[in-house]
């Protein structure tokens, strides 16, 4: 008897479990299904939305980072060369005399440069004056030989010089020519100048020049009109800036 009663009880319990409200398991089952359905529906909707969104421009994310601004420092151009020197100038008929000169150069390219020279010397006595004792052809002020020139130069033979085994210095040979003027014996004359020089650079900003220039001008100072050649030799130091 026990087994049919047991079966009945079991069947009743099962029935009750299936039909009674508040049963978590069953509810959960049905509820789970519903949720899944809802989820799939929402996913489909989202996909549709995404498809729609593809046609409209995507949202750009603005990074909250300041863009690095690069300020380019100005590059120093070192094409100017300024210096001064000492040497000798042979003033035709007036002997060879010491001279002081300044020079400024602008290097246009590797090969060419513009140069300005300004110098002053004092002329000595002519042989006529020396032989005649107290004869003075020119006054003290008139003996001043002041000259300047504007030239175009060409770096002719760039190279290096070697001092011993360990020191190499950049050097260069250059030729130049130009126009200028000379104030001498109470008169100012147009001059043509041409010459050549040698330059050695112990460092990149310092140069030592040894140059020779001829300054040619017309004069009638000693009676007859003639062309005079006044050769100047100058040792100078310049600085690049």
């Amino acid at each position: 008897m026990e087994s049919p009663n047991r079966l009945l009880l079991l069947a009743a319990t099962l029935f009750a479990a299936l039909t009674l409200t508040g049963c978590q398991t069953i509810k959960g089952w049905f509820g789970k299904d519903d949720a899944e359905q809802q989820q799939t529906e929402s996913q489909a909707a989202a996909e549709e939305e995404a498809e729609e969104a593809d046609t409209t421009p995507p949202r750009v994310i603005e990074p909250n980072v300041a863009r690095r601004k690069i300020k380019t420092p100005k590059i120093d151009n070192e094409n100017w060369e300024l210096g001064a020197g000492f040497g000798f100038v042979s003033i035709e008929d007036f002997g060879t005399n010491p001279t002081y000169a300044g020079q400024i150069t602008y290097h246009v390219t590797e090969d060419f440069f513009f140069r300005g020279d300004l110098g002053q010397s004092t002329a000595g006595r002519t042989s006529f004056e020396t032989l005649n004792g107290d004869v003075e052809l020119l006054t003290g002020d008139e003996r001043r030989f002041t000259y300047y020139s504007l030239s175009l130069g060409y770096n002719f033979l760039p190279g290096e010089v070697f001092l011993g085994r360990d020191t190499a210095m950049n050097s260069g040979f250059y030729v130049m020519g130009g126009i200028g003027s000379v104030k001498f014996a109470g008169d100012t004359r147009l001059t043509l100048n041409f010459g050549a020089g040698f330059r050695v650079l112990p460092t990149d900003w310092l140069a030592i020049h040894l140059g020779v220039q001829d300054r040619v001008f017309n004069t009638d100072l000693l009676g007859e009109k003639k062309v005079t050649n006044n050769i100047e030799m100058l040792l100078s130091t310049t600085v690049f800036f």
Binding site: I75, L150, D204
Partner: protein
């Protein structure tokens, strides 16, 4: 083959010498590395202090020469992606310092192919035809004729725009009747700066110092104001050079009853930068 005694001995010797060499090499490389890092540090510190421009090599390598000229030997190469600090420029060469603190000269043409830290190309004026059209400064020297007297000129100009320039001219003239100097400032208008042969107009004022020659009776130095209008043409030669020729018509405001009028012609060789 059994190893002989001598072979074993020599092997042992080789090993010890190898070990010694290894130790020596390690210490040497360590010191070299230490030195390099010190040099690098020094270079970096110096660069930071001087606020130098840093550029990066984007070609396979950048050559550094011993001097700013085409003949000077290349003594070092800086590899791709390495940087150099730009110290200064002389004509078409840049003095640069690499990451190891070694300084050398790099040509402008190669520097044009380097990049800045943000990847943009390193741009600077190269001194070519474009520079003729658009530049800041120009200087020139030349000669001509000023009312029958020989004249020597030097001028400098600053570009306000490609068309408009402020110009200062200093001249000395040497004539039969008088010598003197003049200094003038004015505006120059280049009509079409892009043209290789480019006409321009000018207008300005200045001061003229007249020193009559001693042979004329009652010589007296005088200073007068002058004004000019003129026209000319500039012709681009090559690189940074051009030739300019112009005509100026001067009015000199003398202290006498009549103003003096003078014509001036001149030709100058000039450069821009």
């Amino acid at each position: 083959m059994e190893p002989s005694i001598t072979t074993t001995r020599s092997r042992q010797l080789r090993r010890t010498s190898l070990a010694l060499a290894l130790v020596f090499a390690c210490s040497l490389s360590a010191t070299v590395l230490a030195k390099e890092t010190e040099a690098e540090k020094a270079a970096k510190e110096q660069a930071a202090q001087e606020k130098l421009l840093q550029v990066f090599v984007s070609e396979p390598y950048l050559e550094l020469s011993t001097g700013p000229g085409r003949g000077y030997p290349v003594f070092r190469v800086v590899e791709r992606d390495a940087s150099v600090d730009v110290l200064y420029r002389r004509t078409d060469w840049f003095k640069v310092r690499d990451e190891h603190g070694i300084e050398g000269w790099a040509r402008a043409r190669d520097m044009r192919r380097t990049k800045l830290a943000d990847g943009s190309p390193f741009v600077f004026n190269l001194g070519d035809r474009d520079g003729f059209t658009s530049h800041d400064w120009e200087i020139g020297i030349g000669g001509g004729d000023y009312g029958g007297a020989h004249m020597i000129n030097a001028y400098g100009a600053y570009s306000l725009t490609d068309n408009m320039k402020i110009e200062v001219t200093i001249s000395q003239y040497l004539g039969n009747a008088s010598n003197g100097y003049k200094a003038e400032a004015g505006l120059t208008h280049v009509i079409v700066p892009e043209w290789r042969i480019s006409p321009f107009l000018e207008l300005g004022t200045g001061v003229v110092w007249v020193k009559p020659n001693a042979t004329i009776v009652l010589p007296e130095d005088r200073t007068d104001q002058t004004a000019y209008v003129g026209a000319g043409v500039r012709y681009y030669l090559t690189r940074r050079f051009f030739v300019r020729a112009d005509y100026r018509w001067h009015t000199i405001f003398t202290s006498r009853d009549d103003n003096e009028e003078l014509e001036e012609w001149k030709v100058l060789i000039a450069c821009f930068f």
